[in-house]
């Protein structure tokens, strides 16, 4: 052996030993230290969940009439990632697809582009990895199926385009109660990880508006999952376990489809007629751009009908609303039909608010219920005029409401403001009318079981303060802006100085529901319900019950939010006064002449800066034993007596009049067919 060989052989030994020890060390690291993680990965590797979509629950009206059902449709969808693998990013495919489905290619491109920081709507709101539906054809639509066939026959020309049979929402009553029912949209990538959407697949459609959104968790059911064992090639090797799909609950609304139809018809008709009328003052034709009617049970807060104009066809959301359609639905210029005016539109309540002012003044202890008060044409301290400058002499509170005398309320409000220190307010002002408005639930959400409700505004001291803090800087700059007129500069300067001050004019304006105080039609309905039912401010509900597939019924119980701090005598007095409004001499006498039911109500004409008046009528009936509250509102609809009151009358006629509801009553019990156990609908696998 050479001298050199011996040590080198030892080196080789050490080397070999090192290699073996290295392998062993790594083996220990993988199998002992990381063993659990890898065991998990191995089982995840092998188990693939196969989802069986649970059928979404139907939505019925209070009599069991279906408002939302499911139907099978053929949905054409585009897999964007597959398109992007095309040499031209799929432009040619979209061009071909455009000719088949009849949507311009540019619009298809927009509709499949995921929304992002630099991508504004119209765009795709769902997961970027999910096929985007671009067209939908009913399973019974032969011409539509023919189109899809053109895609299927030439698959190679349409890479990334697929057509699948899917269950989609169906609206047997068309556009009826569209806002209330809502629609479905793709779940967003962020939502999939939220607990509310536990068990919802990334490609699912979830409720985006209306009861579809509020009761999404109940309507959704629970998808079934079969855990299939697969090999690397996806070949099924067996099943590990499966949970069957649980169908979604059936949602029974308190809505009566018949009354809803009456309300929508009355609303559309009133708006049509208003457009032939001329506005007070300017004499221009009324715009009557939008409106709402709310019909609610006075004692329970159950909503019987809730109409909003303009409306839209909820089926445009089936298979995904195209970006252009969605843009049209939210475009202010085109009336923003997607906005649910009953809960998302807030307007100055005008004279309908006087019921609150009356009770506030009486409960302050300063103005006896049965006292008599002057109703001059002009209220001296503020110089504010009565409507049409009418002077009625000395009146009682009933007359003040029936004739809608503003100056009586100016006096109450101004004097209360003075007692609170006037321009130099005391530490804790009593603000009786503001307190009463709050007690009636104004300025806060009613808590109705619908999403995106507005809370409205009470234009009180705090409101003035915060508004001033937000706008002060701008206004102060405006005070020294030479481009503005001297008058504007002076106004800005004053506001800059003490715009946060709650002035006497603010108090008087508030007392007649004008100014910055805003209410939604539904809020006003809860106010009139409270007057009708003895002071209970109810939480309105549109849902009556949820019925599971096995027939289990969960009733949604009426809820009282608060009780108005007043006496039954005061409420009875106000009710009696409101009954006079529809009688000869009242502001709504004309509209209610010959009414089939005695209606108690109040007209309102809200002044809106830069717009025509908001026409209001808030009411309940029968006047002596109130059951229903009906509130009608037409934006830019002129005076309450000429537009809103006849509209509400039409609703009462539909309910109580000849050919109306039997006995003018709503069913007290749920439809019997629902409470009996129903067979579970067959699982639908798309």
């Amino acid at each position: 052996m050479t001298d050199r060989s011996r040590p080198r052989l030892i080196v080789l030994r050490v080397f070999v030993l090192t290699l073996l020890v290295t392998l062993f060390g790594r083996l220990v690291a993988l199998q002992v230290v990381g063993g659990d993680d890898y065991a998990e990965a191995a089982s995840a590797n092998r188990v693939r969940p196969v989802v069986q979509t649970a059928p979404r629950g139907e939505v019925l009206d209070v009599r069991g009439t279906p408002l939302v059902r499911n139907r099978t449709a053929l949905v054409v969808s585009v897999d964007r990632s597959a398109l992007l693998r095309q040499p031209d990013d799929g432009a040619a495919v979209l061009e071909r697809l455009a000719t088949v489905v009849g949507t311009p290619a540019a619009e298809l491109t927009r509709s499949i582009t995921p929304c992002g920081d630099d991508v504004a709507p119209p765009c795709w709101r769902g997961s970027p990895y999910q096929p985007v539906p671009v067209a939908e054809y009913d399973a019974g639509d032969a011409a539509g199926l023919q189109r899809v066939l053109r895609i299927e026959e030439r698959r190679e020309e349409f890479p990334g385009v697929r057509a699948d049979f899917t269950t989609v929402r169906d609206y047997p009553k068309g556009t009826l109660a569209a806002h209330l029912l809502g629609y479905l949209g793709p779940i967003s990538p962020e939502e999939t990880s939220q607990p509310d959407y536990d068990g919802v697949t990334a490609t699912a459609l979830v409720g985006r508006a209306g009861v579809e959104a509020t009761y999404d968790g109940d309507l959704r059911g629970r998808d079934g999952v079969t855990e299939v064992l697969v090999d690397r090639f996806g070949a099924v090797a067996g099943e590990q376990g499966s949970t069957p799909p649980v169908p979604g609950d059936t949602l029974v609304l308190s809505i009566d489809a018949a009354v809803q139809g009456i309300a929508e018809k009355a609303l559309a008709g009133a708006i049509d007629r208003a457009r032939d009328l001329r506005a007070r003052g300017s004499g221009a034709r009324l715009v009557a751009d939008s409106g709402s009617v709310v019909v609610m049970e006075a004692r329970t807060g159950r909503v019987v009908a809730m109409a909003s104009y303009p409306s839209y066809d909820p089926s445009v959301f089936v298979g995904g609303a195209s970006p252009a359609e969605y843009a049209r639905l939210v475009d202010e210029e085109q009336g923003a039909p997607l906005v649910f005016r009953a809960i998302q539109g807030a307007y100055a309540p005008a004279s309908t608010f006087k019921v609150v002012s009356t009770i506030g003044a009486v409960e302050s202890g300063d103005y006896p219920l049965l006292g008599r008060y002057p109703c001059p044409g002009v209220y001296g301290p503020t110089g504010q005029r009565n409507f049409d400058s009418a002077a009625l002499g000395t009146v009682d509170l009933r007359q003040a409401l029936v004739k809608s005398c503003d100056t009586v309320f100016y006096k109450f409000a101004y004097e209360a403001w003075q007692r609170d220190g006037g321009n130099d307010p005391v530490q804790e002002p009593r603000d009786p009318m503001v307190r009463m408005a709050q007690a009636f639930g104004l300025g806060s959400r009613t808590g109705v079981d619908l999403p995106s409700e507005r809370r409205g505004t009470i234009a009180d001291r705090a409101y003035k303060q915060s508004l001033w803090e937000q706008t002060r800087d701008n206004r102060c700059k405006g005070a020294v802006n030479p481009e503005l007129s001297a008058e504007r500069r002076r106004a800005n300067e004053e506001y800059c100085e003490d715009g946060n001050r709650f002035r006497g004019g603010d108090a008087t304006n508030f007392s007649i529901g004008q100014g910055d105080t805003l209410v939604t039609p539904l809020q006003l309905a809860t106010v009139y319900a409270a007057i009708a039912n003895g002071g209970k401010v109810l939480e309105p509900h549109v849902a009556r019950a949820l019925v599971s597939a096995s027939g289990q019924v969960r009733e949604i119980a009426p809820e009282v939010r608060t009780t108005v701090p007043t006496s039954p005598e005061v409420l009875a007095y106000v009710r009696e006064a409101l009954a006079g409004v529809t009688q000869p001499g009242g502001t709504a006498a004309g509209a209610f002449a010959g009414s089939p039911v005695e209606v108690a109500g109040k007209t309102g004409t809200g002044e809106v800066a830069g717009k025509q008046d908001t026409s209001w009528f808030a009411s309940f009936a029968p006047a002596d034993a109130p059951e229903l509250v009906v509130v009608g509102m037409v934006s830019q609809g002129g005076t309450g007596g000429t537009v809103a009151a006849p509209m509400v009358r039409e609703v009462y006629d539909g309910i109580y009049g000849p050919g109306g509801l039997p006995g003018g009553r709503l069913p007290a019990a749920l439809p019997r067919a629902l409470t009996a156990a129903r067979p579970a609908p067959a699982a639908v696998t798309p």
């Binding site: 052996m1 050479t2 001298d3 050199r4 060989s5 080198r8 052989l9 080196v11 080789l12 030994r13 080397f15 070999v16 030993l17 290699l19 073996l20 290295t22 392998l23 062993f24 790594r26 083996l27 220990v28 993988l30 199998q31 002992v32 990381g34 063993g35 993680d37 890898y38 065991a39 990965a41 191995a42 089982s43 590797n45 092998r46 064992l229 697969v230 090999d231 690397r232 090639f233 070949a235 090797a237």
Partner: protein
Amino acid sequence: MTVLAPVRLGRRDASLRERATGRDSPLRRLDWVLGLAVLALIGIGSLLVWSATRQRMLDADLDPQAFLKRHLINAVIGMTLASVATLVDYRSLQAYAPVVYLASCLGLVAVLTPLGSTINGAHSWIVLGGGFQVQPAELAKVALVVGMAMLLADVRDPERGPRDGDVVLVLALAAVPIALIMLQPDLGTVLVLVFIVLGVLAMSGAPLRWVAGLLVAGALVCVTAVQAGVLDDYQVDRFAAFANPELDPRGVGYNTNQARIAIGSGGLLGKGLFEGTQTAGRFIPEQQTDFVFTVAGEELGLVGASVLLALLGTVLWRGLRIASRSPDPFGRLLAAGVVCWFSFQSFVNVGMTLGIMPVTGLPLPFVSYGGSAMFANLVAVGLLQNVHLSSREL
């Protein structure tokens, strides 16, 4: 004379028996530790190959034992070849070296002609028909070990080791099969051959500057090869995936990820033979050949995989022992060359399943399915035994 004839015949008869069973018989004098370790590896390997292929064959409605049977046939043929390599006269071994060398080079050239076939991306095979195919590159390993041992042992001054001229000659001869295999391309085998060249040169007592120089040159060649695009994209990708295993787990990194999941999920005791979900689910490609160690890791756990490593270690230990006890440089270099081959190839193979070496497509000696490799490995073991026997004779 005629009287003696029967005696001679009788003696021959006796010697046959004696040679088989006698105290000095080669059978008795064999390195049985080495032999038994190799047999154990082949036995365990058979089970692993069976497990890796059983489910796939069942799914395809084929004989689930088909791979097992052929693997065992290969082992028997290999052991026969090993016996021949053991019993060939030690001195004449050197004479065969040029023949083996030339045969392997011819085979490697044939692979590059239309006679060769591409299997799994490497143009490394000659299909013989009847379902048989050979991989001349495996033969080249044997040829290189024997050839280098012969050339480097036969130097003018055994005390000083080979001179520069000897080294250059050896390198030139080694370059031929390496270049031919590079053309296939079979990077794994090239690496093994380069390692054998380095190892045998180092053991031969060649000046260290050669060893160091070759290491540097090898590194330079690797870098240039990657940059000049000599390597196929898939080879570069494999290295990239090795550098970053999370890279594209469904693509390039898929194999190594799945391999690690299989081994890691085996834990201490494994899931049991035939019970591996990764194995039965066919998540690991080439599992009966290059990734056979994953079956051991998943189904036999740390215990089983360690036994496998220990058996490989035993083979290497006996090889090193034979090398150090060899009376002449030829035997020593031969044994050292085999040890270099087995150790490097085992390390690369197991290391790639464990994610510490790039995927290069090398079988695990004695364990992986594959006839040519089995034959070459067992012939190498036969040569070790031959050296072992010769050292006892002196």
